[in-house]
Structure formats: structure tokens, C-alpha cells
Symmetry: D3
Subunit: 256 residues, 6 copies
């Protein structure tokens, strides 16, 4: 088995760097780097919810995702979405980020407030949606920690620790956490959004061309869950280093 | 195990009605009904390809998906996408339809032409994306048959017979082919786009709320593949009845 | 006098096929075919009226018209109005449909509700606006019949039976109910929206190029009114066959 | 028969004031006032035609129509069409102006150039579309005169002198050239675009509410043609006063 | 020192023609010509203010600026802002006009009403923004005079007489009130919005290319203020000729 | 004279932090902080120029400016410019940034290439336009340094060192480099874009309310130029620390 272009083994995730609190105005923020992908995620708290949810006492999490015009080796001709609709791809991704991070919370316990996640991809080398989710969970927790500190939470609200990664078949090999050049050659790729105890929030797999055997899908899910197990450790470490007590925000298992 | 509202068993697909050739201008068309969901799919052939593909000798399949303003029990306030961007949901779905039907073809054998799939959901009772794909494959084959009849195909171009269905966990039970009222209560739902021999083109599963065990995902994939096995028989029957020889359009296994 | 391409006489309308109730969710619907033109019209009832009419106790009828992207021999590059303004032509037509069907009703008797007409042209071979009006009246009555059945109408609300047709001068001959190839060669064409007793709701005549004598306009109005007399019989027959009692919905002459 | 609010008789047109050459940059221009309606019409000549007409040697006339935000007693909240689609009404009107003025010319004789008519309604008191056409014909001729003076026309190009006016039934009376307060009360109104010898370019009649007898339509056409006969004299007088020789631009009858 | 193309001296403003009351519906209006630049400015009074100002008892002045499609020697391909965003240049200018004319008033004394300035550039030969401001002040005062006449003002509301002009360095010479051909060759140009007693509301100077010495900026400000001194006399004269008593609208110095 | 809220003297600029090369894909980048304002500026080089400049052998600099949705204490409801026009304010600012940085270069020496400046305001506490220009010049030089290193520049191209700052009158005092709370209370504020030797590229001054004496404008220009003298030193220091040789990129005075 050959090593990969960046020296990683087939089943290794990319090196991750996390800077919690990079953006000082937002309640929570993280500058999240995974290999050549760099995402600024902010979590902003607003004390209202969308109109269709008013009065129900539940909270909401929403997300916006955007590529910086120079997030790629060549600058895009114009800023995505400026004066025109957001691309279908970006819409899909921001809907996925929102769903994934809503799954992380017990929205009833959050109370009637909205947390807005802004995932700005500053540099892109593959895996921007999974980096936005993994980093987004950190920013979300940092924002909740600020609410707790201000005495605005009546108890724990985080149901699950959520992270995401992708896997793919490239040239006959099963690889974890694809960078852009691998992703563009993959015969099939699959993203998993999962939790600390190895449960699944979302799975999306696509054969780029010919259909694949079910066993290949299974193997990719398996490998992705191993990657998520590593990522949740990195998330916890980064929050601990930033002095944020995650445990106190977690809803105890069995409690509702 | 209780029977479902419409009398089906938990593992049964909905009754399907197929009218091939409903729309007479399009090269291929089908009026596809699955339970309370009614989709008009047309397949239009154009002898050019998008600019980024010119000169490569390959074909392309693209899709547009749209909800009729009265496809739901209450009319929408305005036509989707009219004078404003298409919703994120519709964009996701039409991108999925396009990918799924491209997977069905050997695009090199299609030659430099584009087949445009228009999936107009006239009535919606859940499963509109899977109906669009299952019906779309029929319309696609009908259009290819017309090309063959006119002597415009040099040989078979269909790589796979493609159909799609969803499954979900509703109130503790695993159900196949969810209608709207089931879908809106599902704790987790999953769509599979698969092929006649049981391979997978695309899988998308989402926990609506709390994360789920991997074994639940596996069971839903399993059940969906059984549903797809039934749907491909219905597709073949409808095309046969319309006098279309599918076998002659299929690329023989092992051939490239 | 030569017969026409489709075998009709100069003063004959095209063969009409009417399927009442094709769309099951809408209160009223009709699949209306006139020659090669196929329109799906739905009538949806909503228990509110536009803001500028609130509290006046009057009802309203509004219309949306849209061409299916493959309603013509060649598929349009993109769906009309998607993400951009509706064409001027389509706007003109949907305004005309709305005005014409409002004229059919006694809006005071309708009560404060809106009936939305959706005219989707699935296949177009000329006369799509007149087909939308003639078919639209059928869908409108079917919807009102449903309201009556549910006990929601206090009495009759239909003031007039309304239908529409066009006439034109093509190559020296006066022809009724032009198909596309005739329409595109017409030196002058004119549409009339009229009622069962031969009154006029709307007349629109345009010389395509040089101006015409007033007598030509008069002859076209005359011929169109004869066509409308035939169409109203077809409308009545279709509704009767669908078990809908039109007479009971008609406001008696002299009554207000 | 009572006189009208502005002292006119039922069959009288409004006082017209014409200032040819108000706008000095445009090849042709007119500031046209009819009663309380004031329209600035410019005719701009461009030596190209729309792409679909290239190489055919024919000319084209196109029109844009716009209401000044303060053309009404109360200022509109925002400029029409600014950053959003033009209203359906304005689109209808500018399409009508374009068709009407194309009918005035022999486009083959114009040569491959486009004349753009800009009709800016500065003040509106009814009849803005007919004023735009009547004034537009003057601006068009002024522009053609400039082309002739510069030696750019090989011969006469004007096929017809075109003007327009409306008539309507208001409170039991048939009135010519309705002002806004009359128009808003009319039971039926009708516009005619006609030529100097009394031929018809376009007729549009609409019953506002209940359908009307054909004889009423006939009477309105008749009255409108009498109004047009007066307007063409006013057009000729204004051009003469501006030193423009209309006769020399008119294609002789019988000639092609 | 050579005279300029139009015979003016370097430090002379262009000939100005002012027609107060050209537009009769608007409370105030002026047709303002400065050399080859012609602007129609209307001032419309509305008895409400934007939502963010409600209840504060203060008035507001807002402006819209638009180029006529044929305001230049060649017609623009399409009307500015129609169905698309207004250009950045026009947005800048209309924001400038609004700020400048707000500075002219004591908004507290105006009361809770909005005056909307519409500056329509009919012909453009440079200096359209300064003409819009200078003419706009006249229209504004005419509108206020109408309010006073109707007894709707409790006292004087005009704080300053405001006018604007530009200066620039062209080919080594300092010129006042640049026309288009001068402006396009200027190495640096500067606009000043100033008041009757020589105070400054706004100054905007831009080096077109290389930076300039501060002394050059100073000289341009100086020259512009001399031009403004002339323009305020022309404004006063035009209003006097129109029978409007400006003095009675001016807030006395020292009074608040 | 009281010290300011952040302890600065009236004539002091805010503390500046500069991180050159923060963004690794862009040819040049800087993370620029001035007090509470944080801007990410990237400079991307493209080897083409806008169509209207092709073949002239000159280069171009263009700019896009955007506020992060959480750049303020409260998150904006939606991303600026997404699916709708950019605000007038942002358009003004990005036009100003482009003009200012074009003035910094000898575009003839740059050759036929475009440098795109992206100024993303991550946190905003006043002075975002001047920070974008001052930081933008650093990013621009870093990008040019990369071109030189790659041997793509034939000689020096930077004509001037450009920086920007604002001044204002707040509560009777003249203050330099206003933060948001000062800016919102200023009676008049003025921005200067200037060069290392104290020349002026652009000056924009606005009285917020009543007009001001010319001497006040003069004092603000004077103070701003002193601030610019400090900023150019900070720019040079930051580039030196990043190992970039600015001197070698500067066009020698007197040379052209």
C-alpha cells in the first residue's frame, strides 16, 4: 500500500489545527484547518427563532456556507451568491451543516433562541463540508459556554458530540479524509456525520460513474466512523485547551 | 405488525401506474404515479453538450425538477423559482436526479448530445425524488429507443437499469417507500438509488433529530434494495408494454 | 377553398378532448386538448383574498400561465421564469386569463375567497391562451361545484359561460382556431373571449405588418363568436359527463 | 348629454400639445401632452439589429415604456422595474408600442438598423399607451428625417401614418379619449391603433366586469377611428411646423 | 490661457437655464440645464417617514438618480437598473444628492414627512451630479413653498441654500465646471457641495492616476466655492421669477 | 483635552497588527487589525484584463469589499449581497479601494494582468474602508513580490506607497482615526487616501448635518496626512519583517 501524496497512510485523517476564539465578536468561533483546507466558523446567538417556530419554546440552529473567492488555486470570477442565487452545491452543504448541528443539540433545552453558524471557507483542498461540521461543533459549544457563563442556560443542552469525515475509493484503494486531488479521482465517495459513541447522523454516498457493490459502501462507513472517533478527541482537546468545560454542557445519557 | 394507513405491509412499495408516451413532443416521456405521488417526466434530446464538454465526444444528462404550485393539499403562494432562486431542496433533488441517470448510461457511447430530464411533480405525497428517478429512467430509455429507431445510435448505451426508493423508521417500525404522513414522522429516513443487479448508485440517510445506530442504517439499505428489485421489474414491464426493446439498448456486461 | 393541413374546413374548430378531474388535489382541474395543444388547468380555492381587497366581502380570481420547457418541438434552454422574470408574452397571457375568468363570476356572490387558476401548457401548437381560458372555465366550475357540495356556497355564482378562440387571415383565407403553422403565417389574427349568449368579454386583434380594413376585423369577430358557440357546448358536455350540474351554479339572468 | 369634467364633448379628443425636438441628443424626440398626460418620447437610431435578424437586410423598431415615479398624484414607493422585473402592465404596453410603430414602417426599406423608442410617462392622466404611440410616430418620423438629411436613407420608408386613441362606456355614455377618472369607471374600454386612411393596426377591448354586446364594441371602434382621423392631422401639423417633410418619407401607395 | 471649447473662461460656470414647475403633479419641480446637461428634478412630499424614524418627529429627504437611456450620444443597451441592480456610480450619486439636500434643511422643523427627490438626467454632458444637487435644491424649496401655501409648515425649515459644482486640472490648467470632454481628460477632479455663505457640506476629490499635491486640492476647493457663489444667485433668481419667497422659508441665523 | 475611550490621544492612530501571508493560496494576503477592526485582504493575480482593456498592454486593479455577517455586535439577518444587490455603501467602498490601489501602481509597467483585491471585514469597529486600503496596499505589494520572485515582472511597478485614515470633529474636538462610537457622533468626518511623501490620492469629507467652515476641512486634511505618515512606516515595517523588499518594487522618482 503506497503512502499518499502528503505522506499519510490510507486510513489516516489530515493534521488538524484549531484556534478557538479567533473571531472575538461572535459568541463562539473557531479557525479550523485540516490539511490545506481552512474554514472560519462563527456561532452567533440570537434571542429569537424563525417565525414558524415562535411560541413553541424550542431553539434552532441554522447555517450559512460560503467559499472565499480565492479559496481555490485560481480566483473565481465573482463572489459566490453576490447578486445572484447561491450555487446548488453550497445550498446543499449549508443545509447539511444545519441539520448536523441541530442533531447535536436538545433543541427543547436550548430555549427559544437561534444559533447561526457561518462557515466561511478561506482555503479549500477538499473536505470543506466535513471541516465545517467538525469545526462548527466546536464553535457551537464555545457559544453555548458563553451563554452558560452569562447564566442564560438552565442546564445542559448538548445531546451529542458531532464530527464528520469522508472516505473514498481511489485507484483501487480505500482512503480516509480525501484531499481535493484524491476526491476528484475517486470512483465513489461517502461522507459520514457521526457522534462520539459511533452513531450516525447522516450518510451520503455517491458513485461517480458506475454503481458500486454494497460491501464497498459498508467499508467506507466503517472507515469513516474510525476517523470520526479521532476527530471527536481533537475537538475535546481544543475546547479543553480553550478552558471550556464540555462535560457540563452535555445532557446526561438517559436523561430527557 | 400493523398494516399501514393505505393497507400496505411494512415492506411493500406503493402501487405504481406508468403511462409511457403521455407527452408526445418529447423524445421520451412517462406519467408516473406511485400511490398519491404523480410525476410527469420528459426526456428531451439535444444534439449539443454544455460548453465545458465540447469536443470530448461524450454525452450528458441533466435534470430539472419542479413542484406544481398545487402539488400539495394547499396551493403554494407562488410558483417555485419564478422570478426568484429555486429552493435549496429542489436544487438538491434535481442534482440527484441528474447524477443518478448519468450513472445509468455509458456517456461515451451516447455521443456528443445532451438528454434533458424534466421532472414535474403534479401531485406530491412523499417520495417525489425517488419517483422522479424511477420514472426518469423509463423516459430516458424511451428517448434512447427513439434515437435508435431513427438510426442515430451506433450501439447500446444503457449501462444499468436504475430505480430508487426510500425507507424509514417510523414509530419503532421499519417501513419501505414512505408516503408523506409517514415521512414527516420518521425518526430516520434513507433513500437508495440502485441498479437491477442490486448495486448502489447513491445512498442518502438522515437522522431527523437524534443519531441512530449503524445497524439501523444497514437495515434500511437492505430493505431499499429489495424495493428496487421490484421497481426494476415494473419499469421493464411498462417499457415492454409500450413496445420498447430495452435489452437491445443495454451494454452487455463485460463490454466497454 | 382548400382544406387545411389537418383536414379541417376553414371555419372549423380543432378536435377537443376534455378530462375533468385529472389532477386530484386541486378543487377543480381539467386536462384540455385542442388539436396539438395540451394544457393542464387547475383551480385552487383559498379562503383569503389579496390584501387590497380584504373586508370588502368580494372574491377574486387570479391566474398563472407557464409553458413546459418541452412544450415546443425543441426544448427551451431553461424553464421560463426560473430565477428570472416571466416573459412579457406570458405575463400578458396570464393577465388575460385572470380578467376573462373574473368576468365569468359574480365576485360579490363568491364571498371573500380567491380561486387561483394554474394553466400549464404541456404541449403547444397554437391557441394556448384560448385553450387556457376555455379549459380554465371548466376547471373553475368544477372547483365551484366542490365548494357547493361542501355547503360553502350560499347560492349560484357563475354569471357567464366563458370560452375563447382565435381567427386569422392566412394567405387570403379567413380561418378559425389557428394552429401554430397557420398563426405564424397570418397577416392578421384576433382572439375573442366570449360568452354563451354571444356577448364579448375581450377582443384583441393585431395586424402583423400592414394595417387591415375594419371589415376584416369585423369578419374575424363574427367567425370567432361562431367558434365560441361550439366551444360552450363542448364545455357543458364535459361537465355533464363528469356529473357536475352547471345550471345550478349559474346566476339566473336578471338576478343580482 | 352632459359635458365632461374638462368641458369636452363626449366625442372630443383632449387638447394636444406637441414639442418636436425637446430632447436634442436623440435623432428624434417629442414632448407630447394630451390633457393631463405628458410623455417624453425619443427615437434613437442604432446601426445594428437584434442577433436573430442579422444579415436579412431588414430593420427593426423596439420600444421601452416607463412611468416616472411621480407620474401619479402620489409618488410610487419605488421606481418601476428598478432592481426588479417590469410590471406586466408596462411590458404589455411597450410590446404594443413596438408592434404599432413597426406597422408604420416598411422594414425592408429601413435597412439593417434598429430604432429604439423610449416612452417616458412624466405625468399620467389616462391614455398613456395611446399617447406613447401617437407621439412615438412623430418622434420616429423626426428620426427618419434626420437619417434622410444625412443621406442615410435610399428612399421613403414610412408605410403608414399611425395614431392611437381609446373609447369607453362610462355611466351609459360612449366617450372618446378617456382621462383617468373616466377610465377607472368605464364598464368597457377599447383602444384602437389606426392609420391615416382609417385602417386598423391593433384593437384591444376589455369588458371590466360583465360581458358586453358586440354592437357596443362596434360603436367604440367607430368612434376611435374618428378620433384617430383628428390625431393624424395634429401629427402632420406638428411635423410641418418643425420643418419636417413627411410626404417625402412616405412610401407611395401601390409601391413596394 | 486659452478659452475653452465652448468659449468660456477657465473660471466660468456654464450657462444655466431653469424652468421651475415644469412637472405639474410633483409638489416641486425644475427642468435644469447647465450647458449640455439637462436634468428633470421633482420633489414629492409624503406624509410618512421611513420605519426606522417613526415617532421621532423629524423629517427626511431621500433621492433617486437615473440616466435616461439616451442621455449619451449613443443609446445604452438597456435602461439602467431595469430588472437588475443600479450601477455603483448611480448609487453613489443618489446617496450624495440625498445627504446634500438633507443638510439644507432643519429636519426637526420639517415634521414627520419625507421629501423624495427624483433626478432624471435627460441629457448628460458632465456635471450631472452637481446639476442634480443645484437643481434639486430649487425643486425642494418649491415643494416647501407649496406646503407653506397650504398651511402645512409651522415655520421656516430651510437651514442653508445649497449648490454644487466641480473643478479639475486639465492639461495644466485649473478649470471650473467641467463638461464631459474636459472631465474625461482631467488629471484630478473635485466636487464641492457648498452653501450660500461659503461653508462646505461635502467635498470629494479624486486623482485619476498619480497622487497630487495638497495645494492643488486647496486651489480646486477655492475655485469651486467661487462657482457656488454664482450658482446660489441663479437659484435665488429662478425662484423669485417663479414667485416663490425663499427668505420666508429660511431659518434665521442663530435661531434653532 | 480628554483622552479617548481607548486611552488614545486625540491625534493618535489606533494600534495596528499586521500578519502578512495569513492566506496561503492568494499571491498576496494580510490579516490587518486596527483597534477593533479586523480585515482579511487578499491580492490575487490573473493574467488577463477586463475586455475593454485588452491589447493595450496595461494592467488593472479591482476590488471587492464585504462585511462578514457577524462583523457587528449583532449578526445581520442575511449575508450582504447574497442573492440581492450589494448595498450602495459597500459598492462605494469597493470602488474607492480599487481607485486608491490603482493610483499606487504604474499600470503600464504592470503588464496586461489584473490584480483582484478581496477585502473581507471580519470585525468592524469603524474605519473599515481605510483599513482595507492600508492593508490592501500591503497585500498588493506582497503579490507583486511573488511575481518578481517568479521572474514575471520586468522592473519596478509601484509608483507610490498608499495608506488611508479618517479624521473627524466629535464634540468640539478634532480626532484622528475614529472608532465606531466616535464616528457615529461626529459632526463632520473626512477620509484621506495619501502617499508616503504626503500627496493626496483621494479626499472625501461629509458634514453630517450642518455645513462646516472651510478651515475645519483644512484641519482634518492636515491631521489625516500626519496619520498617513505613521501608517506608511507601519506598512514598511510589516513587509520588511515578512522579508519583502519594497524598495526594489518602487519606481524611482523621475523615471517613467
Amino acid at each position: 500500500m503506497a503512502t499518499r501524496r502528503d505522506g499519510r497512510g490510507a486510513e489516516a485523517i489530515r493534521p488538524v489545527q484549531v484556534q478557538v476564539g479567533f473571531h472575538t465578536m461572535a459568541e463562539g468561533s473557531v479557525l479550523y484547518r485540516a490539511g490545506g483546507t481552512l474554514v472560519l466558523v462563527t456561532a452567533s446567538v440570537d434571542d429569537t427563532v424563525p417565525e414558524f417556530m415562535r411560541g413553541a419554546g424550542r431553539g434552532w440552529v441554522t447555517a450559512e456556507y460560503q467559499m472565499h473567492p480565492r479559496s481555490n488555486p485560481v480566483r473565481r470570477e465573482s463572489r459566490e451568491g453576490r447578486g445572484k442565487p447561491l450555487s446548488g452545491r453550497s445550498q446543499e452543504i449549508q443545509r447539511l451543516i444545519g441539520r448536523s448541528l441541530r442533531a447535536a443539540l436538545d433543541l427543547d433545552r436550548l430555549g427559544e433562541r437561534t444559533i447561526s453558524i457561518d462557515a466561511d471557507v478561506l482555503e479549500a483542498d477538499g473536505g470543506t463540508r466535513t471541516a465545517s461540521i467538525t469545526g462548527g461543533w466546536i464553535a457551537l459549544v464555545a457559544a453555548l459556554d458563553k451563554l452558560r457563563t452569562r447564566g442564560l442556560l438552565s442546564g445542559p443542552v448538548v445531546r451529542d458530540q458531532v464530527a464528520a469525515v469522508s472516505a473514498g475509493h481511489v485507484g483501487g484503494e480505500l482512503l480516509l479524509d480525501l484531499c481535493y486531488s484524491e476526491d476528484s479521482k475517486a470512483r465513489v465517495d461517502l461522507s459520514v456525520v457521526g457522534t462520539a459513541p459511533g452513531r450516525i447522523v447522516e450518510v451520503q454516498g455517491t458513485a461517480e460513474g458506475e454503481a458500486v457493490e454494497r460491501s464497498e459502501i459498508d467499508a467506507m462507513v466503517e472507515l469513516s466512523l474510525r476517523g470520526i472517533a479521532e476527530l471527536v478527541k481533537l475537538q475535546s482537546g481544543a475546547l479543553e485547551q480553550a478552558g471550556i468545560d464540555v462535560a457540563g454542557l452535555l445532557v446526561p445519557r438517559g436523561g430527557a
